[in-house]
């Protein structure tokens, strides 16, 4: 019951959450309707919009709002482990992402059925990759929300990712001649939300450009999924640690 209430809260905590879902679904449908993209083009679209932008929109201020309004003080007096609060909120977000992607898939299948145009090839894999990216981004954003006031966690994450990738691209180009790009590339690839790995997983590059024959490499795909889930867990552990620490400091006050 507690789990249900806490997860439901993520849907209802702000009025705009339903609007975000509807807008995003309309976006997917419009993109498909207007551009009749190939499976990969649509996959790339949903990967960025659903995997990266959607969790930012849904997780804005997920803890920051409560901290700013003082409601967190009420929440922490409840007789349960603070980690549960974090976990159920993250699960709530994850569930929202899953529902959103399932609906996106349904919309595309309906449009495809009605129009008899376009392609739904590998859509399932793109949706799975988008959901995995959604989870890691949501965990990172939720953890940030504990230390960043109000709803700035999403803006901060967005700015960091965009400028980070821009700066890193410049660095990679300038450092290519001097070497040392390996460490930087490894850090970006394995410690940040796994944009590159999941993109390769969904687009079939691990099969096409891997050592294996065939389109998809099962081992590498499983490894991508495992890495992505573990990354989400690591971000969450950091978030739970931050939340517990913040609680203690309040009690001391």
């Amino acid at each position: 019951m507690r789990a249900y209430e806490l997860m439901k809260e993520t849907y209802c905590r702000r009025g705009y959450i339903w609007i975000v879902h509807i807008v995003w679904l309309v976006l997917y449908g419009s993109f498909w309707w207007l551009f009749l993209p190939s499976g990969e083009e649509f996959g790339r679209f949903i990967f960025i919009w659903g995997g990266f932008f959607l969790p930012l929109a849904l997780s804005a201020g997920i803890f920051g709002d409560d901290i700013a309004s003082g409601r967190i003080c009420v929440l922490v007096t409840k007789p349960f482990w603070l980690g549960e609060l974090y976990i159920y909120r993250l699960l709530g977000l994850s569930l929202q992402g899953a529902v959103n992607f399932i609906l996106a898939g349904c919309i595309v299948f309906v449009l495809h059925f009605l129009m008899r145009k376009g392609s739904t090839e590998d859509l399932g894999l793109w949706l799975l990759a988008s959901w995995l990216l959604f989870n890691t981004c949501a965990a990172l954003s939720t953890s940030l929300s504990i230390v960043v006031g109000r709803a700035y966690n999403s803006l901060l994450l967005f700015a960091v990712v965009v400028t980070g990738y821009f700066v890193v691209s410049l660095l990679m180009v300038s450092m290519r001649q001097q070497g040392g790009t390996g460490v930087l590339a490894g850090f970006i690839k394995y410690c940040w939300p796994p944009f590159e790995l999941l993109y390769k997983f969904a687009s079939g590059e691990y099969g096409k450009y891997s050592l294996t024959v065939g389109r998809f490499s099962v081992t590498k795909s499983v490894a991508c999924i495992v890495h992505s889930l573990i990354l989400m867990v690591v971000y969450s552990i950091v978030g739970i640690a931050l939340l517990s620490r913040r609680q203690f400091s309040r009690q001391r006050d």
Partner: protein, 425 residues
């Protein structure tokens, strides 16, 4: 007791997570060199028959046309529209995004020309490009069976990815890799588009290179080729064929091209033209050697040096290494130092190759960017082609430089003599 159990459980979960993550990182990021021994293919007669049928179908065809897209994991791709006809006719449109180049083989000559301005080629500089970008063509002799269309495209460097399957096979050109096949095995059926295919795996040079061919069950022609070149990191390329037409009528006009008025013949600078010239000082370097020490070129002052740049995936280099070893054994005490230089290969691959072939002459084995810089910038090997030979005299000056290897080459003997080596005839 309960707390202890809780702690134990957390430690177990954390440990399991760590193990899982290590496995995931290993699978996603580990060097595929770990799997290389299992990549050496043992011959399967049925698969070899399939490969031979594919080659025979192409060699015996009168004409062949297809579209090919060659791509790599960086997302870039080059496209080719290819028409081939016996005995030595071809027409190739090669394109990167909007820039396209056309190659026409009229039976005797190869003509390369561009619609509009020509793209920037590998050895262009801004000034020469500005002067020659419009209304120019290249003309070269194309001896039947000895001309490689793929090589011509690669040398000029106007596409991102070259064809994997050699188009000149139809004209009787034999890929030098064919004599280095370890084995061919079947990898089962697979579909490419609407074509049902049999997939075969061919490994070359102890799996230094692997190619997968998706061979159509219908016409025995490839529909997709994947190549894995195991260098210091793996280089994977894919070629996809479409609109394949075998023995269809191709009008002869397709293979003729007359020079438009006002156009002029132009010779593109080739990789050999930019190498260091005789009399120039050989740039010094200090790099890692095969035995884990360091090699400094200036440490060889007083000796004549044959600097040989190689990699294990090159058939010519493989042919050269035993002969160079013989030279080393014979002339080591007479003032000649054979010095290998390999920056391209995975160190372990190169070391095991040297061990298996009893190569004992000193070798630079360094895959760091510094070694690559020496090769590319100091020794002007912009296309990273191998084998590359530099003969350096005892004062450290270049005597001669050239690509390729030929046993008993007159050029090599002349250069060594010029450098002051007493050669036994």
């Amino acid at each position: 007791m309960q707390i202890k159990n809780k702690i134990n459980m957390r430690i177990t979960i954390a440990f399991a997570g760590l193990v899982l993550e290590c496995w995931a990182l290993y699978v996603v990021g580990a060097s595929p060199e770990h799997w290389r021994p299992s990549m050496i293919v043992k011959d399967e007669p049925a698969a070899r028959a399939l490969y031979e049928t594919m080659s025979k179908t192409i060699r015996e065809a009168e004409s062949l046309s297809y579209n090919s897209i060659c791509s790599g994991p960086d997302g870039r791709a080059s496209s080719y529209q290819i028409w081939l006809k016996k005995p030595n006719y071809f027409y190739v449109d090669a394109a990167n995004l909007m820039k396209s180049s056309t190659l026409v083989g009229d039976g005797d000559y190869l003509w390369i020309y561009w619609q509009g301005s020509r793209p920037f080629l590998t050895f262009d500089d801004a000034e020469s490009h500005a002067k020659t970008q419009l209304d120019v063509y290249i003309k070269k002799a194309t001896p039947a069976g000895r001309n490689s269309i793929g090589h011509e495209i690669a040398m000029l460097g106007f596409t991102w990815y070259n064809t994997i399957f050699e188009p000149s096979t139809l004209h009787g050109y034999i890929d030098s890799l064919d004599s280095y096949i370890d084995g061919i095995r079947s990898r089962g059926p697979d579909d490419v588009g609407d074509q049902e295919c049999d997939v075969i795996e061919v490994s070359y040079m102890d799996a230094q290179l692997t190619r997968y061919f998706w061979v159509s069950k219908q016409d025995h022609l490839p529909r997709q080729v994947k190549e894995i070149d195991r260098l210091s990191s793996n280089i994977v390329r894919v070629e996809e064929w479409s609109d394949v037409k075998l023995n269809s009528e191709i009008p002869q006009q397709k293979f003729t091209w007359s020079v438009p008025e006002g156009w002029r013949q132009w010779s593109a600078t080739g990789p050999a033209d930019v190498l260091l010239k005789s009399g120039q000082e050989a740039p010094d370097f200090d790099l890692l050697s095969a035995d884990g020490g360091r090699i400094k070129l200036s440490g060889y002052r007083g000796k004549i040096v044959w600097l040989f740049m190689w990699r294990t995936g090159s058939p010519s280099c493989r042919e050269a290494m035993p002969n160079l070893q013989k030279l080393h054994d014979k002339y080591e005490g007479r003032g000649l130092a054979i010095l290998g230089f390999n920056y391209a290969d995975n160190k372990r691959i190169a070391q095991s190759y040297m061990r298996e072939n009893s190569v004992t002459f000193p070798n630079v084995l360094d895959s760091a960017s510094e070694a690559k810089k020496v090769m590319l910038r100091s020794y002007k090997n912009k296309t990273q082609s191998v084998p590359l030979n530099y003969i350096i005299d005892s004062q450290g000056n270049i005597v001669d430089a050239w690509f390729g290897y030929e046993e008993g080459s007159k050029r090599a003997s002349a250069a060594l003599k010029k450098a002051g080596l007493q050669i036994e005839e």
